[in-house]
């Protein structure tokens, strides 16, 4: 195996075009739906609502035809931190007058505290799953297009919506190429005997060691940016005509139903176990 494969560590934030029902919804509908659920997961207080959100996330993954194993893998890296957080939560919240389920020295666990811990775990797990589902089913280009259309009314306020959205798009497009570029540079310098990531000594020495990697990365990025600007110029960007888009989204009955249903479920998540 290699220390030099940067792309492998970039699984989060991947788009998986499986062509499922979910992928075929209007981009704007998906943006609204995911925003609604992510907000609901964040603000929901009751356990039933959160369990419901976890279930809905799994249903969403199945609907999107994402291999469940791959999606659940995203839960593993933050799991140790979550468990520690949950344990702390359990201990901190078990202070009340409630009868202890379990007591050892100063450590006291009550039913209420345990519930808080479980709530925290479920909340974070479903948050991670919903975020993953968003990135699996909503490509950056769709996000950009959807945002562009959702934000369009702001043009009337003379906000440069198009330029802003294009800026996001170019930045995102640059990331994989930057990663590839960094990988090449590190490999090339390692081939000349540079000890990458084996820095020792003072700050100055470490900075000096990093220079052979950073200087070319910087210069290459500048060159790329310059070339990209030229290519965009050559294709008439910044002309007087108002930019159009190849995609026309049209909200269909399915989209309305999906958005309506999702908003209801998201509302249910927030109130279930608290109000009802």
């Amino acid at each position: 195996m290699s220390n030099f494969e940067f792309m492998q560590r970039m699984t989060f934030g991947q788009y998986l075009p499986t062509g499922s029902v979910l992928h075929r919804l209007d981009a704007r509908a998906r943006i609204v739906i995911f925003t609604a659920f992510l907000t609901a997961v964040t603000v929901a207080k009751g356990l039933p609502g959160l369990v419901l959100s976890l279930l809905l996330a799994v249903i969403g993954l199945l609907l999107a035809r994402i291999p469940l194993g791959y999606a659940l893998k995203g839960l593993l890296p933050p799991l140790p931190f979550l468990v520690i957080l949950a344990v702390i939560q359990v201990l901190m919240r078990s202070r009340g007058t409630e009868a202890a389920l379990f007591q050892f020295w100063l450590l006291r666990v009550t039913a209420g505290g345990l519930l808080e811990g479980v709530i925290l775990l479920v909340r974070f797990a479903s948050l991670v799953l919903w975020l993953s589902l968003t990135s699996f089913t909503l490509s950056v280009s769709e996000l950009i297009l959807g945002l562009n259309l959702l934000l369009r009314p702001l043009r009337r306020l003379r906000l440069p919506v198009d330029d802003l959205v294009l800026m996001v798009q170019v930045t995102v497009r640059f990331i994989p190429f930057l990663t590839q570029s960094a990988e090449r540079i590190v490999k090339a310098q390692a081939s000349r005997g540079a000890a990458w990531g084996q820095g020792s000594g003072g700050v100055l020495r470490r900075v000096r060691q990093a220079l052979p990697m950073i200087v070319p990365l910087f210069l290459n990025s500048l060159r790329r940016a310059e070339n990209l600007a030229l290519a965009m110029d050559a294709r008439g960007y910044g002309g007087n005509a108002a930019r159009t888009s190849m995609h026309e989204l049209n909200f269909q009955v399915v989209d309305w139903l999906a958005v309506g249903g999702s908003l209801l479920l998201a509302g249910l998540m927030v109130v279930w176990g608290v109000v009802i």
Binding site: R192, A195, R224, R235, G236
Partner: protein, 588 residues
Amino acid sequence: MESGWGAMNHLIEVNQITYTHDRQNGETPPALCGVSLQIAAGEMIAMIGSNGSGKTTLARHLNGLLLPTTGTVRVAGLDTSLPDNRQTILSTVGMVFQFPEDQMVATVVENDVAFGVENLGLRPAEVRQRVETALREVEMWAWRSRPPHLLSAGQMQRVALAGILAMKPRCIVFDEATAMLDPAGRRTVMEIMHRLHQEGLTIIYITHYMEEAAQAGRVIVLDRGQVALDGSPREVFSDAERLVKLGLDLPPAVKAAAVLHEVFPALPQDLLTLDDLLAALPHAPAGVVPPVAVSQTRPVEEFEAWIEVSGLSHTYLLDTPFAYQALQEVDMRVAKGGSQGLIGGTGSGKSTLMQHLNCLFKPFTGRVRVGQFDFNAPEVTVYQVCQMAGLVFQNPEAQFFEQYAGDEIAYGPRLQGLDKPVLRQRVQWAMEMVGLDFETFKDRLTFTLSGGEKRKVALASILALQPEVLLLDEPTAGLDPHSRKELIAHLQALRAQGMTFVVSSHHMDDLAVLTERLLVLHHGRVEMEGSLGEVFSDAEALQALGLAPPPAARIAEKLRQNGWPIPAGVVDLQELKNALVDMPGGMK
């Protein structure tokens, strides 16, 4: 459209233009001085010239990306210096650039193709229709929803071209658009260029490949910002001496024709492309000794392997849905002092194999041994191996970080902790090996060096570690013919000193003179293996893999088919000449 512009006028008129990059600093020589050109609609023009001759600067004047310091450029009668004409000119003259990935704007292919059309402010239905037509034209429709970074360089270049085609231009300028591509990718782009030309578009392309220039209807040669030659390929390529002086070369077919002409005086004088030359080769008259039958079973060569790879496989992005196998069960043996060539298209696994040979990648499955180092041993790392096997990456000058050439070369040996005088000696030795004068070049700023000089500095920076094995990944990519010839000569000298080579290249000519044995990779598998002669004489198998033998080998093969007794194993022009001179009878 401006009045007075009619069908009789030229599509592009360049009138006495000069261009200076830095107007404040009077010392920099102008990149263009006094260039005038007329380009008629429907022409197919190749622009050639050494690095720094002003080709790219001139090309960028043709669509108004650059504006002349003095003089005028008119496109379809419109002055490029007037801002109001900008959009019309940009949609009349499109441009495809050298680096494929730098042109991609969007995160998905079809959105990228749509970018230019969207800038024209067309209706969505119209945009979609144009995107589809353009993607089908370059045969990339099936890839429309892919992110560009998962495409090969050749495919990205086709997408970039589609983005221009969708704007429906009358003329397309290709600025070294084939320089970063493998042979199959280059051939496809050239074919598309010819097809577009037949459909009535004006095509202008910059290239370092003389065989590509020979396919144009008109060749413009630039030298230090001026037009040195302008005429049909036949006229331009008739003066070999002049071309060499301009840092250029003859197309391989023209060179070969000159050699063949001594033996076959009846051969026509005006053959420019290899296909024409092959078709014109004479048949052997009756009575010529038939070719010696080459025994198919060759004796197994016994040698001790200095580099030994066995059963090597490698998978990128393991454990993700994007996993793909770059190498499958690869075996390779190179003798000490031997030279192994690697060929294969983009994505065939050449670079991955190379990076296993200096331990950047540890063998995942299989074994790799180089000299005394067994790479399967966990304690062996690239930091030890780099003094034994030096890897020169493709476009190595992109990794420069020191200001001065001398420091850049000293980086590797300095990390080994050499003393000042020894270090100095090392750097001096390394620079001499690549033909750079120590005193002249050690204090030169790296960014002021020419393309060829930069490549030499990069090579010297690896040689300074005094490796026994030199691993070269595309050593001549992007160099002009003159710099390429020089670099090859220095590499040949290193070979003669007994250094072991592994070279991967898209240039079969380079491999023909630098290596002895070849390994052909395709989708990570070894498809062919053998001596130069064995691999290059099997044109059919190579063609099936999107590759082609070097011109001399193809000519030798065709002569053999025509009944001439050419021995097997002829791969370069010199060998072909010798074979023809030695040929028994029927020559005069």
